[in-house]
């Protein structure tokens, strides 16, 4: 793993822990069920990021999917159902499942790895979305393509401000997430075909993340 990326990942995790510490401090001062629920959710997200970081740190370059036949629709339903109502900044975000009309009834992928990758991608989408994130699946040639659309500022958005460490961290966090997604995609191999990740601006605004699995 790139040492610079590793250092920034640790920085990102440190910041997230700091935020959690702040939430716990507030709870200590005044117990509040809703705040406790949010803190627990943030703790779970942070744990996922640790798992993702460890996975990348240990397996970079040699991540291999243990694929089995799965239902893309059921898989995405589970992911959308677990989505929070609001992002870390407290903004209300609706996460919805697209039509998945062109998704096959089954496809081959590693549920554990794909879940980690999509959690990372969703984490970024929630961070930048204004109000909505849409998860969808379709076939594109011989690949199952899972997409995550957000209605945020898009890839060229002003998310990194010089001198603002937290905003810079957000960008690097995106980098870590993308790195993880690429490693997971590459770990999915079918014959000579390998998985891929695409990031693009949507014509109607916002960013689109796609992972293609052979």
């Amino acid at each position: 793993m790139n040492p610079q990326l590793a250092a920034l990942a640790v920085h990102d995790l440190k910041n997230a822990l700091g935020a959690l510490e702040g939430e716990l401090g507030a709870l200590e001062a005044e117990p509040d069920r809703e705040l406790a629920r949010a803190a627990r959710r943030h703790c779970a997200q942070l744990r996922q990021r640790f798992v993702a970081f460890l996975l990348l740190y240990r397996d970079s370059g040699d991540l291999r999917a243990l694929s089995s036949d799965e239902s893309p629709l059921e898989f995405l339903r589970g992911i959308v159902a677990a989505a929070p109502d609001a992002n870390e900044a407290g903004a209300s975000i609706l996460t919805r499942l697209g039509s998945c009309e062109q998704a096959p009834p089954y496809w081959f992928f590693d549920v554990r790895l794909l879940r980690l990758a999509l959690d990372a991608a969703l984490h970024n989408a929630w961070r930048f979305a204004r109000s909505e994130v849409c998860v969808d699946a379709r076939m594109e040639g011989d690949f199952l393509v899972i997409s995550i659309d957000d209605d945020g500022p898009g890839l060229g958005g002003p998310d990194a401000v010089a001198g603002d460490e937290d905003a810079a961290s957000a960008t690097w966090s995106t980098g870590l997430g993308t790195e993880l997604c690429r490693a997971v995609a590459r770990g999915h191999i079918n014959g000579s075909r390998e998985g891929w990740v695409r990031l693009a601006d949507r014509p109607q605004g916002g960013a689109r993340f796609e992972i293609g699995l052979p």
Binding site: A44, V51, L54, R64, S71, E74, Y106, F108
Partner: protein, 548 residues
């Protein structure tokens, strides 16, 4: 009132040696409203509970911090049939051990849960597995009743839906067809799957099994070897076993042993060491056998996976190698460990007599042999009979020893493994020259009885022929060759008489069930099943009487 979820009534067992982790897991289960939770802190506790109650879900920590790890416990529970096939087994592992745990196991758990676990993780796995169970329920219910045609029909019905379960249905269909002896159709199913997803290991393995069942051993070997050569299949011990079985069927027992040794290298489990040790012993490769059983004893010391037969074969190997003192030490230790196991005690006496004879304690050997004879039941084609025969030969009772070996051969004269054991016994006792006499003497009489029964059949004296083969079977109830012959003759009699005689059909069913337990997974038995089923379906409607 307690909240009901689809999981509320699943009797659950948590196996973990750490009290804090147990509490956490129970808490997670409570969040899913699973209230019927028992807990065990050791493998022994877990076994006691599993024996006393039928669980629907087991959550087991991989690192039990005892002599037995979670994987060994799972293998033991599945191998011994203690867990119901319906019970879901979730292995709890740490993130850093997951990769090695998941890749190095023969019996896969239904799911791996990586620490720290959330209720959501457990629910996701439960939901997916229960959905699959429900989708395949109608197939598995029929398979459970051994209703293979019914299971096949259900596979086809599920395939017609073209839904998410297509691959699972194809997998079940291939397995069912193989069990039915319809290997050409099974092969076509696996090829269909590989057309959708090239390189899928289970489909390649199924294809190789279908080829082997059809006698195409070279092609089967080629596919199994290519699985082993692939990155996804390099640790697939089933592929190693398949190559070994092909080599053994081709008479290359040494090649088969090498293959099994390789499998124990990629997966150094106790179970693998046992398979290699037993094969090496049968092949007369005593040094390899000793090495395997020494490793096995070390790996299973104090663990639930230790088996009495391991100590017996180990001790026998040491006697054959001329190390009687070491063999006696092992038998003494085994005598304490397995004092309540009559099978161990009886066979141990025969091996002890051999060890005493080897050590020059003639009087002791004779006294022990006398006790061993007392406990011996009917001579069979098994390790115990051969051990006693060796004790007889080594204490100067040549006639009794040879007679026992002849009985062992006659008990299952077509079984090449029995012949290997007997050949080894004669070699170890200096009676190698008697091999032809033992085998010919035993097989001669049997063959003449079978030939005579066949002659009666050819002369259209069908009932006399059946009586003759039944009489042979009465004398040699576990002889797989005679059982197959008896099943075939009875089926032929039904076909010739063009009438479905329920008594005869039931008799064949019993023979087939005995063959299933004596030769599990045998291609010959699968073929006979097919012949039997075709006989019954050809006569369906000829009478109201149907076999059970």
């Amino acid at each position: 009132m307690a909240i009901q979820t689809p999981y509320s009534n699943i009797p659950t067992l948590v196996i973990d040696d750490m009290p804090t982790q147990q509490t956490t897991l129970r808490g997670q289960l409570q969040m899913l409203h699973i209230a019927k939770v028992d807990q065990a802190t050791t493998a022994e506790d877990a076994i006691r509970l599993v024996k006393s109650k039928q669980y629907g879900l087991v959550l087991c920590d991989f690192n039990l911090n005892q002599k037995t790890d979670g994987q060994q416990l799972l293998e033991h529970l599945r191998d011994s049939g203690m867990l119901s096939p319906e019970c879901l087994f979730f292995m709890v592992t740490a993130e850093n051990t997951y990769k090695s745990v998941a890749s190095a196991s023969e019996h896969k758990p239904d799911a791996y849960l990586l620490k720290p676990i959330t209720a959501g993780d457990i629910e996701d796995r439960l939901k997916a597995l229960l959905d699959r169970r429900n989708a395949l329920l109608s197939i598995n219910q029929r398979l459970g009743k051994n209703d293979l045609p019914g299971a096949l029909a259900q596979c086809n019905a599920l395939l017609d839906k073209k839904d998410r379960w297509t691959m699972q249905a194809l997998q079940s269909k291939g397995q069912t067809l193989l069990q039915m002896g319809r290997h050409e159709e099974a092969r076509a199913v696996y090829e269909q799957v590989l057309g959708v997803r090239a390189g899928l290991i289970w489909a390649q393995l199924g294809q190789a099994k279908a080829l082997k069942a059809g006698g195409k051993l070279e092609e089967a070997k080629f596919i199994a070897q290519s699985i082993i050569g692939s990155k996804d299949g390099e640790k697939n011990v089933e592929a190693y076993d398949l190559v070994a079985a092909c080599l053994e069927a081709q008479g290359d027992t040494q090649g088969a042993l090498w293959m099994l040794k390789d499998s124990a290298v990629v997966m150094p489990s106790a179970r693998r060491q046992r398979i290699v040790g037993e094969t090496a012993y049968r092949n007369g490769d005593l040094e390899t056998a000793k090495d395997c059983f020494t490793r096995l004893a070390k790996a299973t010391k104090g663990a639930v996976t230790a088996q009495p037969q391991d100590a017996l074969t180990h001790a026998q190997t040491l006697v054959d190698l001329g190390e009687p003192a070491e063999a006696l030490r092992l038998l003494d230790a085994g005598g304490t460990q397995y004092k309540n196991d009559p099978q161990f005690t009886n066979v141990a006496l025969a091996i002890r007599a051999q060890a005493q004879a080897r050590a020059g304690d003639e009087a002791g050997a004779k006294a022990t042999l006398a006790k061993a004879r007392e406990t011996m039941r009917r001579a069979k084609a098994d390790f115990a009979t051969v051990a006693l025969a060796k004790a007889e030969l080594m204490t100067g009772n040549e006639e009794a020893g040879i007679k026992l070996l002849e009985s062992a051969v006659a008990s299952d004269h077509e079984n090449p493994r029995v012949k290997q054991l007997i050949s080894g016994a004669l070699k170890a006792t200096g009676f190698e020259a008697k091999l032809a006499q033992v085998v010919d003497g035993a097989v001669g009489e049997l063959n003449s009885r079978v030939t005579s029964a066949k002659g009666l059949f050819r002369d259209s004296r069908i009932d006399d022929a059946l009586a003759a083969i039944e009489a042979a079977l009465k004398d040699y109830p576990d002889n797989t060759g005679v059982l197959l012959q008896a099943a075939q003759m009875n089926c032929m009699s039904l076909r010739l008489k063009k009438q479905l005689n329920a008594t005869v059909a039931e008799r064949v069913r019993l023979y087939m069930s005995r063959l299933d337990s004596l030769m599990p997974g045998s291609d010959r038995v699968a073929q006979m099943h097919r012949y039997y089923r075709e006989t019954l379906s050809g006569l369906a409607g000829s009478t109201a009487a149907q076999p059970a």
